[in-house]
């Protein structure tokens, strides 16, 4: 079992690390989730809490996670153990959450994979709604399991295979892959945006996207969604950035890299908003509807609205359909493997299981569990798990991270570590953000979210569905993190 772990892995270059971290941060969240969350939370007004969340939580937390990973030079469980033996569970918790996200994230990618193929002959025809129903075998409720969708299963196998092939050789291969998979979708997105903006009605869509509705800023759910989106999109509070930073060389920059990666991620989300809303405006104008009448929500935007709009394009509809889904796939694959890498590193670090074996084991387990989401009711279960993991799991990990590092450890040591190796120096304000501001915001958001979800069950689903799909995954991974902490290390076991 003990093989390649004696040799510490490093990124090929600063470029490789920055690209890998951008690749991890930029994903379906930017194209699939951001425009949808933005649409649901007051359009342009959402940009304000989003920017606030980026600068008060996203960037400071990314600097913190880079500092921890670079300082500890190990996976999140090893890093938290180095802070204090009793905190190892927090590291396991932080690597289990992105693994859970990966389980349904790859399913969305499998949908994209099928849709990329269907784009060749625009198989969804003029009514993407019906096609989506046929494609997924939508049961209309999470209470009826439904049948497995074979095209989705095929896509799922392909995506997990890609994840395995990219990860099992270690970070040097990741560095080579991201040199293609990060710039390519950005170029494709720019092409799609230019096409979208030249369509009739695009300005109306952009207007809905950018015009701020300040009254929504009083709605606490809008702020919760902004912070959750930042955590989900940037890859913070998921153990990913700790893992990636552990592969940095000793004299690597931390702070400047954190700014570049965070701004590149948010910049892509901002750009994707134009890509999506210009097409939404075009669709509304073509069908003589107001934008609010389109009833866009969740994957509907990407798998119903966008394909419908593509079908209506006068020229090269198939071409634009294909590049849209290729962009989604290439955006998503970097994020997908980055969500799997922390748990692989955790297994590799603690039990000295080789990268190849750990990756293979996790990918097979991941594939088997992901199959649940390929059923006719998968869309509903996916949405419920996403709601609870993104809005509670990530927020709670961010909170625990700040409490452990800010209050149980000397946070200034991480600031000094970051300043020692970075060109841009951060001041004491950062300590206050980690110790007081971020945990306070997260705690308030968490309490309100718990209250909201108790008084109004999510989407009025029955309680057993919420407990089974939302609450139990959160509790299970929390308890599992303690179990993983208690299992002895390889050498101790022998």
């Amino acid at each position: 079992m003990v093989d390649n772990i004696a040799k510490k892995e490093y990124w090929n270059s600063r470029f490789a690390f920055v690209m890998a971290a951008i690749g991890s941060a930029v994903g379906l969240g930017n194209v699939w989730r951001f425009p949808f969350i933005c649409y649901e939370n007051g359009g342009g007004a959402f940009l304000i809490p989003y920017f606030v969340a980026l600068f008060t939580a996203g960037i400071p937390l990314m600097i913190l996670e880079f500092s921890i990973g670079h300082w500890a030079r190990g996976s999140p469980p090893e890093a938290f153990k180095k802070i204090g033996k009793k905190w190892e569970w927090a590291g396991w918790w932080a690597v289990l959450v992105p693994f859970i996200i990966a389980l349904y994230y790859v399913v969305v990618m499998a949908w994209c994979f099928s849709y990329m193929i269907y784009s060749i002959d625009l198989r969804w025809g003029s009514n993407a709604n019906i096609f989506f129903k046929n494609f997924l075998g939508d049961t209309g409720t999470p209470e009826i399991f439904g049948s497995i969708s074979l095209p989705v299963v095929f896509g799922l196998i392909v995506i997990w295979l890609f994840v395995f092939v990219i990860l099992y050789k270690g970070v040097k291969r990741i560095g080579k892959i991201v040199a293609i998979t990060v710039p390519l979708p950005t170029i494709l997105l720019i092409i799609l945006t230019i096409r979208g903006l030249t369509l009739p009605g695009a300005i109306e869509g952009i207007s809905y996207y950018l015009t701020p509705n300040f009254s929504r800023l009083t709605d606490v759910n809008v702020w919760l969604a902004a912070y959750a989106q930042i955590f989900f999109s940037l890859g913070v509070a998921q153990g990913i950035m700790i893992t990636y930073a552990s592969f940095l060389k000793k004299k690597s920059d931390i702070t400047n890299n954190a700014f570049i990666i965070s701004l590149a991620d948010a910049g892509t989300s901002f750009l994707a908003g134009f890509t999506v809303f210009s097409v939404v405006g075009y669709l509304a104008s073509s069908q003589g509807l107001g934008i609010t009448e389109l009833g866009i929500g969740g994957p509907t935007l990407t798998f119903i609205t966008y394909p419908t709009a593509i079908s209506l394009l006068p020229v090269a509809a198939s071409f634009f359909g294909m590049i849209f889904y290729i962009a989604l796939l290439t955006f998503g694959i970097d994020s997908a493997f980055s969500m799997v890498e922390p748990i692989v590193s955790g297994l590799n670090g603690k039990w000295k299981i080789s990268k190849a074996k750990a990756t293979g084991f996790i990918c097979v387990i991941g594939l088997l569990i992901s199959l649940v989401f390929t059923a006719g009711s998968g869309l509903y279960w996916l949405d419920i798990v996403d709601h609870f993991i993104a809005n509670f799991g990530l927020v709670m990990i961010g909170l625990v991270e700040c409490l452990i590092l800010g209050w149980m450890y000397s946070i200034y040591k991480f600031r000094e570590h970051a300043n020692k190796t970075s060109e841009i120096k951060i001041g004491i304000w950062w300590d206050y953000l980690i110790k007081y501001i971020i945990p306070s915001i997260l705690l308030i958001l968490l309490v309100i979210a718990v209250f909201d979800n108790i008084t109004n069950p999510y989407l009025n689903h029955p309680w057993w569905v919420i407990i089974f799909g939302g609450v139990s995954p959160c509790i299970t991974i929390f308890l599992l993190s303690f179990v993983l902490m208690k299992i002895k290390k390889h050498r101790e076991a022998v």
């Binding site: 600063r14 940009l47 952009i206 950018l210 400047n256 570049i260 910049g267 901002f270």
Partner: protein, 35 residues
């Protein structure tokens, strides 16, 4: 239909902060000799 003034303001604000900021930090990274 024209873009409302508040939307144009958000467009400029968002672009300056995000893309201007990104360009600035990339410039500093390229100037720096850190690995």
């Amino acid at each position: 239909m024209e873009l409302p003034l508040s939307a144009i303001a958000m467009l400029i604000f968002g672009s300056v902060v995000l893309y201007g900021g990104l360009a600035y930090f990339l410039y500093r990274a390229m100037k720096s000799k850190r690995i």
